[in-house]
């Protein structure tokens, strides 16, 4: 993402953060919140798949860990928003680090399957650890508080969600341009060559998984600011695939792609709720068309220097 694109995104997010709650209906603001959560989720998956080229299919699990940690942190421990968000991100990051160890031993389809298995196992935990997560009854998320003020609506949450999202976009854009970003891409392209230029391949992979999971967990923390309820059904493989579709449609490897893909595909997926029976078919159709006509993604070109 170029500095100019980042500046445009910043202006847009700040503008929307101020204007949207005043102008739009609650439902529209809710969609706005949800899209921004998807943006952060996409940025997270972008780090591990797009930058470092490591297949991780457990993203929804890290997202769920972030949601439950932030919700319980706020509800049981009375943590303020920032602390709950950080706790969600950090606990997810810790699990991400553990999953990252798998990437030191296996790659490609084997890594994809193992991370998929972890995702499924975590959904099972969310569903059956009833005393903590409420299990199949779901969990009511208490209102978040910022400086002692509870946030009770989508409109009140939106500026906060927009601000945090902007910070993460800037961080990931900065990461992309940094030496660490180059190291990630080097590992993606060739581990042999990366080692030959003196990159610690193991540490780089672990870092990619950890950062990715942190962002997913933080996205979960953001979700708790405007949502009042979470059920394990929405933390399964479909969510991971949805986010994966976002970064693929947007353009794998491009920060702008992850951002654009999340917004556009998030909107598409919300609109398709009206026609649930065609939803999967239309997803599939879009994916096939993109792979055929824009295999590098719809938004990747925009972000190129």
């Amino acid at each position: 993402m170029s500095a100019r694109t980042l500046a445009a995104v910043a202006v847009l997010l700040v503008g929307l953060g101020v204007a949207l709650p005043a102008l739009a209906t609650g439902y529209v603001v809710y969609i706005g919140n949800l899209l921004l959560v998807f943006v952060v989720l996409s940025l997270g998956l972008h780090v591990v798949i797009g930058e470092a080229g490591q297949f991780s299919l457990a993203h929804a699990a890290f997202y769920g860990i972030g949601i439950y940690t932030a919700a319980l942190g706020a509800g049981v421990l009375g943590l303020p928003f920032w602390a709950a968000l950080l706790a969600g991100g950090l606990l997810a990051a810790l699990c991400g680090l553990a999953i990252g160890v798998l990437s030191l031993r296996m790659r490609d389809i084997y890594l994809a399957l193992s991370t998929f298995a972890f995702g499924e196992a975590m959904q099972w935990v969310f569903l059956n650890w009833t005393s903590v997560t409420g299990g199949p009854n779901g969990l009511a998320i208490p209102p978040t508080s910022v400086f002692g003020h509870p946030i009770l609506s989508d409109k009140a949450a939106f500026p906060l969600v927009a601000g945090v999202t902007l910070v993460f976009v800037a961080l990931v854009a900065g990461l992309h341009a940094s030496g660490l970003g180059r190291a990630f891409r080097a590992v993606r392209e060739s581990e042999v060559a990366a080692a030959a230029v003196g990159i610690d391949v193991r540490r780089t992979k672990l870092l990619a998984f950890t950062l990715s999971a942190f962002l997913a967990g933080a996205a979960g923390g953001l979700f708790t600011t405007f949502s009042t309820f979470i059920h394990p059904d929405s933390l399964g493989f479909q969510t991971t695939i949805l986010v994966l579709t976002m970064i693929v449609v947007g353009g794998v490897g491009s920060v702008t792609g992850a951002l654009g893909g999340a917004v556009v595909f998030g909107l598409v997926s919300e609109l398709l709720r009206q026609v649930p029976s065609y939803q999967e078919m239309i997803y599939g159709g879009i994916l096939i068309l993109v792979m055929m006509y824009a295999p590098r993604g719809v938004f990747a070109r925009l972000g190129r220097r």
Binding site: G179, E189, S190, A195, A196, V197, V201
Partner: protein, 238 residues
């Protein structure tokens, strides 16, 4: 001259397969040493042990008299050993410029890195022409030049070259070896060159080691090895 690099009785393998057994060899400071042998003789494994990609099961690698045991590839590059891996291991989807910058991954001196990029484009003018081009779109010879330049961006004292002639036309091989010899002279580089093309490697090197099935079968001054008809017939395919 003092030894810059010394392998003492090194064995290494992959799983239960032993690829190297009891290899000893010395690379004197400022020298050019060739490591020869057929496919599967253990040449690349030897380089991978030196650069920390494969851990030795026995024996020791010493650089400037200090053991490299337990060091990762990042620490070994930082100590002054760079490898030019075989098989065109460039970063294909990065530009020539990015490939050079990433070669200096462990360095922090921005001005020095910029200067070294200019030095490299001096040695390899074609890289200046292709500066913004994706590395994967270049020809085999150009990619080989980029690989060498990328390895030099780490400012090594010892450069390990793995089959620099592989898949190149005789003319290009000559060109690349000319530059390698110039680098050796002008940048005071010590070189360890793995080659199947024994004729070229023996011509530029002072010492050579011949490996077969992971063991040293001959070692000595390159001129003497080149003159030994029975060795040439048995191991060097000439």
């Amino acid at each position: 001259m003092a030894d810059l690099l010394e392998l003492a009785d090194v064995s290494a393998g992959y799983g239960r397969i032993e690829a190297l057994s009891g290899v000893s060899l010395r690379v004197p400071e400022g020298g050019i040493v060739a490591l020869l042998g057929a496919n599967g003789a253990g040449k690349t494994t030897t380089l991978n042990v030196i650069s920390g990609i494969v851990a030795p099961t026995r024996g020791e690698v010493r650089f400037r008299g200090r053991s490299l045991r337990g060091l990762g590839s990042d620490a070994i590059v930082a100590a002054g050993i760079s490898q030019v891996p075989e098989g065109r291991e460039i970063f294909r989807d990065m530009s020539v410029h990015e490939n050079l910058v990433i070669g200096a991954h462990g360095r922090r001196d921005k001005a020095g890195i910029a200067r070294d990029i200019e030095v490299m484009t001096g040695y390899f003018p074609i890289l200046a022409k292709r500066f913004r081009q994706m590395a994967g779109t270049m020809s085999g010879g150009e990619q080989q030049m980029l690989l060498i330049a990328r390895a030099l961006m780490a400012r090594p004292h010892l450069l390990l070259l793995d089959e620099p002639s592989l898949g190149l036309s005789p003319l290009l091989v000559q060109q690349i070896f000319d530059i390698i010899v110039r680098l050796h002279r002008e940048e005071k580089l010590t070189l360890l060159i793995v080659e199947q093309n024994a004729a070229v490697a023996l011509a530029v090197s002072d010492h050579a080691t011949i490996l077969e099935n992971g063991e040293v079968v001959a070692q000595g001054p390159s001129a003497a090895l080149a003159a030994d008809d029975s060795l040439r017939a048995a191991y060097l395919g000439a």
